[in-house]
């Protein structure tokens, strides 16, 4: 891997990179280098991404027939629960922050490392312990509560390893909190001279906003999971109405975390898209200040909208109105971001490389996801479509169309920096377009199916919905191919890819001002920042 650098930098005998500073297992497992921690995280979440993907592939296959083909009800329920738990907590929540955030955020502010390097590696170990609980729950037969763990089903009625699964998510939550604290401290303390707050790249702002949400919301998730364990294991009456508990209390606590968790997933993707668009349009992001205000206000107002998940739960009509109103408010900054991204393209010098295609997919799919969010914020519509495939389609547009597209944009944008190698751009562009196509074919029909009345989490379903389900399953096959494709060409590029050099995209961020892959402490000198980010027009 290092001979790539040798070609480009003849003056250096053996350029130091974070990859060649040690080859032993312990040099990886005991590392405190933010870049190595990022790689550890990346390997772990990639593993989980494919586990979660395999689970849902079986589900989609099963749904081709209205009466099921190969799974029992029990197996079906366990598969979609597994998919939800793994994709939410072991892929999406850690995805961009712990990998690209970890690797790049310190570099983008001109720092040598995060503020607490040992906390950083510890957070990965915590994540792994959480993951082990989850894998245990999986091997021990799985869980059939849905990823939402609603009580009293989860505490009193469900079979399966609810306690192990809850423990896994509980433990993994601490890794989120540790990462959040670390990033906030890093942004506050480690910025290079001249890196004022108004000069922070939007990706750094997005990681900062995400970290705030992580440390404020995750403890509430921890509490609610602990209460589930207390009730299920120790019989403490908390949610069981027969003992004076309130099952709705759980939903309030759960969504108080899980709604902001959506922003944990999508805010970093917004940051990525801002970086990529600016680079491939050769222009500063339009309305930088509005973008920062939008990021921060989404993070804050996002805490006040959890009740829109509970319009039919028995919550009061007055509460429904208030939460409906606040949900419309939180949509405003998201809309403004879409406008600003679009305006960024105006008057640019645009090249449609693979990262740009993923970023533009993000904008399109996120717009659809956001607009269908307005449907769900409207109480009369939500009453009809909540708990149907309409909701499934909506949040997959945000989390897959949005967050996962952002993840792939980041992967293709920073791959040359991280590995020092270029991937074959044509293959990557085919991948990006296949992803978009597969996504649309998979999830578009689900909106129609949901409005027609198909409930989510149904193993067998009325025959009238079969046509939609077949189309959706065909789309899932395309999507699966599109997600497997990068596995091949990116792995190929590690060995055969062209050396990337410092700055293959001619980008302005500080992370591009060092060698690829970067050396242990990122830069060979202390950087001093003298300009705002995205100074593309003057380069």
């Amino acid at each position: 891997m290092t001979d790539a650098i040798l070609d480009r930098l003849p003056q250096a005998k053996q350029p130091q990179t974070y990859l060649n500073e040690g080859y032993t297992l312990s040099s990886w497992l005991l590392t405190t280098d933010h870049k190595r921690v990022a790689i550890l995280y990346a390997l772990s979440i990639t593993f989980f991404f494919f586990i979660g993907g395999a689970a849902i592939s079986l589900v989609r296959l099963e749904l081709i027939s209205p009466n099921g083909m190969m799974l029992t009800d029990e197996q079906y329920n366990r598969l979609f629960t597994l998919h939800g738990i793994i994709m939410v907590w072991f892929f999406l929540v850690p995805s961009i922050p712990t990998t690209f955030g970890n690797f790049l955020m310190p570099m983008m502010i001109g720092a040598k490392d995060v503020a607490f390097p040992r906390l950083n590696i510890m957070s990965w170990y915590i994540f792994v312990i959480g993951a082990l609980f989850t894998i245990y729950a999986l091997i021990a037969g799985g869980v059939d509560t849905g990823w939402t763990f609603y009580t009293p089903l989860s505490t009193l009625y469900a079979n399966g390893s609810v306690i192990a699964a809850a423990a896994g998510v509980f433990v993994a939550g601490f890794s989120s909190i540790a990462t959040g604290i670390n990033f906030i401290a890093t942004v506050h303390l480690q910025r290079a001279p001249g890196m004022h707050w108004k000069r922070l790249p939007l990706f750094v702002w997005s990681i900062y906003a995400t970290s705030i949400v992580m440390i404020l919301a995750t403890p509430v998730l921890a509490m609610s999971l602990l209460m589930i364990v207390a009730e299920r294991w120790l019989g403490m009456p908390i949610f069981n109405p027969a003992n004076g508990g309130d099952p709705l209390l759980f939903q309030h606590l759960f969504w108080f975390y899980s709604h902001p968790a959506v922003y944990i997933m999508v805010l970093p993707a917004m940051g990525v898209v801002s970086e990529v668009l600016a680079c491939f349009a050769r222009k500063a992001v339009f309305g930088y200040t509005a973008m920062v205000i939008s990021l921060m206000s989404i993070a804050v107002v996002g805490f006040l909208v959890w009740g829109h998940h509970m319009f039919v739960s028995g919550q009061s009509q007055f509460a429904n109105l208030v939460f409906s109103f606040l949900s419309f408010i939180v949509a405003v900054p998201s809309a403004i971001k879409v406008f600003n991204w679009t305006a960024t393209l105006y008057g640019g010098r645009i090249t449609l490389k693979a990262p740009m295609l993923y970023a533009m997919s993000f904008i399109g799919l996120f717009t659809i996801g956001g607009l269908t969010g307005l449907f769900l914020a409207s109480v009369p519509i939500d009453i009809h479509v909540t708990d149907t495939y309409f909701v499934v389609a909506h949040f997959h547009f945000i989390m897959v169309g949005g967050a996962v597209s952002g993840f792939f944009a980041a992967l293709h944008f920073w791959w040359p920096k991280i590995t020092g190698r270029m991937y074959p751009d044509n293959w990557a562009r085919i991948g990006a377009m296949t992803t978009f196509l597969g996504f649309i074919v998979t999830f578009m029909p689900q909106f129609f199916m949901g409005y027609a009345g198909m409930p989510r989490r149904y193993h067998v379903y009325p025959e009238q919905f079969q046509a939609y389900n077949v189309v959706s399953s065909v789309g899932a096959v395309i999507l699966a191919v599109a997600y497997l494709l990068p596995l091949f060409y990116l792995t190929w590029s590690l060995r055969y890819g062209k050396p990337a050099g410092r700055n293959p995209w001619d980008a302005t961020g500080l992370e591009w001002q060092t060698t690829s892959p970067p050396p242990k402490e990122n830069f060979d000198r202390q950087l001093v920042v003298s300009a705002a980010p995205y100074d593309y027009e003057n380069t």
Binding site: D73, Y346, G348, H384, T386, Y451, P455, R457, H459
Partner: protein
């Protein structure tokens, strides 16, 4: 069955929901269309090798689209919410059908005591109210043709109401994941004309009305020992209590609805009528959800009777 239940116009409320849905869909198509079009046009026109004149987008756009978005969203909120407000109040003089959900079936009792499983028969052009509770986990009764659903909770009563316009057989689904056979917890909503419904009710064989069964329980459980007309125990009078405002000893004033009556039977200590001692035992565990339906039906039937409250009065 029609695959597009969308357009079946089963109730006026469902049509109203469809209208909001179609309007939002049209708006979304326009916005998505504009965004996709701009992405495409900009990508082509401002491609790197195209020697076209380039200007910066004017800042003024920000000052236009920010308030425009805000007020558009505010308008949608107002429009959707205004539509919802009309449906806040329970209908008056509704036909009350009781629903008890359990893993994994719907148990239904018609006002005249006819029992159904996984099926609700109801007349059109009549306000119908479903009075629902669950025996175990949370379920959700979903009637897609009517565009309504409501979660059904253990130990609590929730309601769903509608006035249908069009006879037919429609889906009845459980929408909240409730365990292994969740997707099989389905049934039929059978909407009939009023004469058909009356005929159907009669044809279900001789069955005693819910209220009559409740009255029997009222005696066998010993309720009448204290609350009955000839009792010497100091207990509140229950004739006409349903729907009345009740003053509680802690100063609260509550309306005696199903939920209140239910709580008073299961958790009598939670709401003591002003002027009475908390001495009633709890019937939790004794009175199941089926019996509860009957007891409440009986108490509701007392609304018109004035003869028995003579001796139940406070002394």
């Amino acid at each position: 069955m029609n695959p597009f239940v969308y357009f079946s116009r089963v109730s006026n409320e469902a049509i109203a929901v469809d209208h909001i849905f179609f309007a939002l869909t049209a708006l979304s198509i326009v916005i998505v269309g504009v965004v996709f079009l701009l992405l495409l046009v900009f990508s082509v026109r401002f491609r790197a090798d195209n020697p076209v004149h380039r200007r910066k987008p004017p800042r003024i756009f920000e000052y236009i689209w920010t308030p425009a978005t805000f007020f558009l969203f505010l308008f949608i909120f107002w429009w959707a919410a205004a539509n919802q407000l009309g449906a806040l109040d329970h209908p008056k003089d509704s036909l009350d059908i009781h629903v008890v959900a359990k893993q994994w079936m719907w148990k239904v009792e018609q006002p005249n005591g006819v029992r159904e499983i996984d099926e609700i028969h109801a007349p059109i052009e009549t306000p119908v109210r479903l009075v629902m509770t669950s025996q175990d986990v949370i379920h959700s009764l979903f009637l897609p043709a009517l565009r309504i659903k409501q979660d059904v909770l253990p130990d609590r009563i929730t309601y769903l109401w509608f006035t249908a316009q069009k006879p037919g057989i429609y889906h009845l689904l459980c929408a909240e994941f409730c365990g292994t056979e969740h997707s099989r917890m389905t049934g039929r909503l059978v909407l009939m004309t009023q004469p058909d419904y009356a005929r159907w009710s009669r044809s279900q064989g001789p069955s005693r009305g819910l209220a009559a069964q409740g009255e029997k329980l009222f005696r066998s459980l010993g309720c009448s020992g204290c609350h009955g007309p000839n009792s010497s125990v100091h207990a509140p009078d229950l004739a006409g209590v349903y729907g009345r405002e009740v003053h509680l000893s802690d100063g609260r004033v509550v309306t005696a609805d199903e939920a209140y009556l239910r709580d008073s039977i299961l958790k009598p200590g939670s709401a003591i009528v002003a002027g009475y001692k908390p001495e009633m035992p709890s019937f939790a565990g004794t009175v199941g959800e089926d019996d509860m339906v009957k007891l409440i039906a009986y108490l509701k039937s007392l609304a018109g009777h004035t003869t028995i409250n003579q001796q139940g009065e406070r002394r």
